[in-house]
Symmetry: C2
Subunit: 334 residues, 2 copies
């Protein structure tokens, strides 16, 4: 007899021919109800498969903690790799992983104002989203342990990388390979954020070139929306320039793949005629044999989760800021 709705105390009462009071009493102080009545109620409870909801819930809440992760709407592979790192370390610790995807700044605001209150979370990880001062204070005031990934804030735990340094590493590597005509291809998304990682990568890239006295023409700095196809087109333009670059630094692996694809379609040999270097070290980078600046995405997720757990364990400790070192991974494309 598959019951559609979960039975309530009322259903049990009706079936047993008693009042809800009695059922309740039966549940909480069984010795205060007549054994005959008790029998009736018990039978009804069994028949209906009644489980007092609140109790079950409370019990469940006791044993498992909940960790929230706020992430930009999950489209970029890099988020996913970090998420994987997080899940990996949380899962064995018996924590539930609750995902909140955000698609606008408003949306984020909403989560940040309600989650510390109603979320009943034990901790929060915010992935690649900038959080402003007042929101940070809110989190702190409500004592919700939090770890930020990618956009740091002095008062909270953070896991970050040095994007400027990364840009510079890429430039230095290409310079070392003898390239002098090097272009940059970044993305244009998220214009609302002031310190976009991609800009920092461009800065580092610029600095390194400047230091080496190599000039970077404006035509060599291109931005394309974060999509394979549009990136390919921009790469195409770059490669069809009268005096095209011999190397391209793409600010993200995803875009580097777009560049590679453009090269493939133009029959340009990589790395012979064109060197390509990316940034991130996505899973795909390995497949594509893409030389790239690795920011150890999985590791960043893992680390964030660990920091969060230790902060939950001892809430009074000061916020930790961890900078994950970048590694240049040399593969076949540069």
């Amino acid at each position: 007899m598959p019951l559609i709705k979960k039975p309530t105390i009322y259903d049990v009462a009706k079936r047993a021919g008693v009042s809800i009071t009695t059922v309740s009493r039966m549940l909480n102080t069984p010795d205060k109800v007549n054994s005959e009545t008790r029998e009736k109620v018990l039978t009804a409870i069994d028949a209906l498969g009644f489980v007092p909801k609140a109790e079950a819930r409370a019990r469940a809440m006791q044993h498992t903690g909940r960790i929230g992760v706020i992430t930009p709407f999950f489209t970029a592979p890099s988020f996913i790799q970090r998420l994987r790192g997080i899940a990996e370390t949380l899962s064995p610790k018996n924590y539930e992983l609750v995902i909140y995807t955000v698609d606008s700044s408003n949306h984020l605001q909403g989560y940040l104002s309600s989650l510390p209150l109603t979320g009943n979370l034990d901790g929060l990880i915010i992935l690649s989203l900038p959080v402003d001062d007042s929101q940070v204070h809110r989190l702190i005031d409500h004592g919700l342990p939090t770890v930020l990934i990618e956009y740091p804030h002095p008062k909270l735990n953070c896991v970050e990388i040095d994007d400027v340094e990364g840009g510079s590493m890429a430039a230095t590597y290409l310079l070392g390979k003898g390239h002098r005509r090097i272009a940059f291809l970044g993305d244009t998304d998220l214009p609302e954020y002031s310190i976009h990682p991609v800009s920092s990568r461009l800065n580092g890239f610029r600095q390194a070139l400047k230091k080496a006295r190599i000039k970077l023409p404006d035509t060599f700095v291109r931005l394309a929306p974060y999509s394979q196809e549009q990136t390919r087109q921009v790469a195409n333009e770059l490669l069809n320039l009268p005096d095209p670059p011999t190397a391209i630094f793409a600010a993200t692996d995803f875009q580097a793949l777009g560049v590679l694809k453009a090269a493939r379609h133009l029959n340009i040999k990589v790395p012979k005629q064109l060197a390509v270097i990316g940034f991130d070290d996505l899973d795909m980078a390995e497949y594509a044999d893409l030389t790239t600046v690795s920011q150890h995405l999985d590791e960043s997720g893992r680390l964030a989760a660990e920091i969060l757990l230790s902060q939950i364990a001892s809430p009074s400790r000061l916020p930790r800021h961890v900078k994950i070192p970048l590694t240049l991974i040399e593969r076949q494309t540069a």
Copy 2:
């Protein structure tokens, strides 16, 4: 200020000079209250250190607003793409997405026995994991709406594809291109499951070849663990056979990429000297220009979520079984 009693929503309302309705709204749908009022309420909340009681909350809202997803430990890109589809349709509906990653059969058992009981889930999606009869009944008895993806069961909602048909499509396509020496490369993971999708794909593949009276030597059927590197090695062996195949059907895109990589390293031209076809249509497939059998992963996730929502809305409806049609996507590798 001796705080004997925990502040309730009424206290906050009084202090902020608004009604409890407004306070509640402020907590749940902050964007629906005027920013001035919001500020007042926020101040009052902060001043009182108000924390809404989760239990009362869950009671008032008939539902918990939480959907669980049980997924194999998230390593395969295909899970992630489905998850993306799920998140995409759940997020605007304001459901929390709770992820349970599973790494063993035991682990799954554990979740399946506790999740329906604790009852703080409105629905459940089980991704690519086989669920046995007793577990299914458990779910049904406790009235937890559930959708299965990939491993169907007659009594529950399912979203699946026809793997046999898919294998056959791939074979037919390659045959149509004139290939006669066609190899299969599958994976060896998840040995505990009887009807592994990859085996079905192989079956379909076999049948199609048989129908065309093309023989499939044993040396042409290879299994490699689900890893890029090991797949590449197996592909290498295949390609170094004295009489190598002119086409390879890889049972998953991920492995197809391994095959492509092997070909690249052996300087074998694709598709001229070797045709490669995959299965899945991962994001990466597009980058790699991989011809593949698309199973519309995002869509499967979306669909599963929609079915779940409609089942939550009207719990009495019969389980639906949806088979997502496969599409052969012709790109550059075959």
